[in-house]
Symmetry: C2
Subunit: 342 residues, 2 copies
DNA sequence: CTGTTAGCGCATTCAC
DNA sequence: GTGAATGCGCTAACAG
């Protein structure tokens, strides 16, 4: 492997000059610069990332921390982040907390060893302490969908309450009452906001709100299934259900079918997130779309900007949700299905 | 940030000695070692990764190259790799070829800059040249599901033909004839092998093989949908279809439903891969399971072992496929559904 | 415009 | 058992 010294020797200049043209400094003679570039190309020279990292104090690398890849809604996030990080010529490292504390310790080690310059985190509860530690050490961080637990960093968020509202309104407009809700954990901001929105939609329509029509889930398919089964048992007259994420909606759909009912004929379901598979379900899932990839790009941009020395913008960055009407509520625009699949 | 010098000073020893205990060398006095460890803990010292990388020539980092995160079957692969890489105390960088040549160039740059010590690649066609280049530069590589295009590296594979055979046998046993097939690209080894297995199953049962019952897809949902529509148009008497991957199977299911038929009542479908969502489809998809996560771990192990100086085992590593019976063929073990969902 | 000197943080000879 | 010196490949003063 060629080093900067090799280039310097072959081009009859000092390492410094080579370094200058490598970093695009203007104060180099056109001719020498060209000659150096020539040699660089001939020898196929590429500067050592570790040497640069050592001297610059930056590895040009950002980490992405996610709870797990099992959660389908993280995929658009990973894609969005990967996209921007690569475009800005940084490396992306992937970290999950699949192995619990052990994983956290590993990530913490990476941070301390300065292998990553910044972190984009999709925060599960219970990570605040670690994250705060990182912030204190001066690590640029952006949080996606967080719990407001780590203040003074950029937080990327979507309009949860509006989302719940739109979901509820859709069901109301379709006359699918009574409608139940399977919520996210109610000790999470997002979980509460989505439910609040839903309740507001009912209130708008002067529909009574029945607490027994609400089941608290934990974002998993299994909890959606459980919640729906319970709901169906106690409220056989149900006409619709709003699940606070698509995973739970999928679980709910299964429970509905298992009970011998049909979607959407007997029960309408609207989900939340618009994960890639929502459009592939049969019937295709009507859902509240979060612009996950855009949110991810915003998060990545925040830490990348910070690393580039640009103004740091702590606080919430809000993104808009939107209702995606498909088949699971019986109000499908049939043609759209085809479009989505090609 | 504390450096090794700080530790040395605080512990009244030389940097050399600190380095020794840090790297677990035996030739250090018990007491001094203990004292040093003490100081390290107190100051929360963590060695700089870049400094180490520079002097060791290794960054303790391996890259994972995948075509895209949109392909659901890569998820278990990413998980498997992430799992093992983390366990072996390395960093995992993620690379997609979402932006085509540009992406490749970026990855190539990373390799040349020595940010990664090894590479695990899920090889789409068209990458052979790049990959060969990496191999020539001495980069440890493992290939998952490759096309046999890069010889002399470990290649992780599953028993494609057996998979196709099992799928065909299942349909034969169920009496679901005539059965069609939507294949992968027939210029890929895997695509051909799965079809060959399927044909063998028909031959075993002395069923005639009708070429018009075979449609070539490209692994995408859209191609599964297209293929199924064409099949249905020309062969309305169809009773079953074998799709060479789950994505195409999902597309096929949609086409079947769009045509007014039902799965599995009218047409049985069996897929291939067992992606996470296969079990969540309604009806749940019967499929040929590839132990994707295990395969990924094997790939990761191969490059990690190579990096650890252990024997390099080029050539194919074969994994076994297995039939997972769910609902889409009408032969469901009903209880299993619940188990899978919890 | 260019080269000399120094040092980033660590591991590794080689002495002692 | 321990330490002083040297260098990994690169960038950053500081001179000229």
């Amino acid at each position: 492997m060629a080093t900067i010294s090799d280039i310097a020797r072959h081009a009859n200049v000092s390492k410094t000059t080579v370094s200058r043209v490598l970093n695009g400094r203007p104060d180099v003679d056109r001719a020498t610069a060209e000659r150096i570039r020539q040699v660089v190309a001939e020898l196929g020279y590429v500067p050592s990332a570790s040497a640069r990292a050592l001297v610059n104090g930056r590895a040009k690398c950002v980490g992405l921390l996610i709870p797990s890849l099992d959660l389908a809604w993280v995929l658009p996030l990973v894609e969005g982040v990967a996209d921007l990080v690569e475009a800005r010529e940084h490396t992306l490292t992937l970290h999950t907390i699949a192995r619990g504390q052990e994983s956290l310790a590993a990530i913490s080690a990476q941070v301390n060893a300065r292998v990553i310059d910044g972190l984009i985190a999709v925060v599960p509860r219970g990570l605040e302490t670690w994250l705060r530690g990182f912030v204190e050490r001066g690590l640029p961080i952006a949080l996606i969908d967080d719990q407001d637990l780590v203040p003074s960093v950029p937080r990327i968020w979507a309009t949860d309450q509006v989302g719940g509202l739109d979901a509820g309104r859709h069901l109301v407009a379709l006359g699918r009452m009574p409608a139940a809700a399977i919520t996210g954990p109610l000790d999470s901001i997002g979980g509460r906001a989505r439910l609040d929105g839903f309740r507001r939609a009912l209130a708008e329509a002067s529909m009574p709100f029945d607490p027994s029509l609400v089941r608290e889930g934990d974002w998993t398919i299994a909890s959606g299934w459980d919640g729906m089964r319970a709901l169906l048992a106690t409220h056989p007259e149900l006409r619709a259900v709003f699940a606070a994420n698509d995973l739970m909606a999928i679980g709910a759909m299964r429970a509905i079918v298992d009970s011998g009912r049909r979607v959407p004929d007997d029960i309408a379901v609207v989900g939340y997130d618009d994960i890639p598979f929502a459009a592939q379900m049969i019937p295709a899932l009507t859902t509240i779309r979060q612009p996950l990839a855009d949110m991810a790009r915003a998060a990545a941009a925040a830490v990348l900007d910070a690393l580039a020395g640009q103004p740091w913008e702590p606080g919430p960055h809000l993104f808009e949700t939107s209702l995606v009407v498909r088949e699971s509520c019986g109000a499908a625009a049939t043609t759209s299905r085809l479009t989505e699949r090609r």
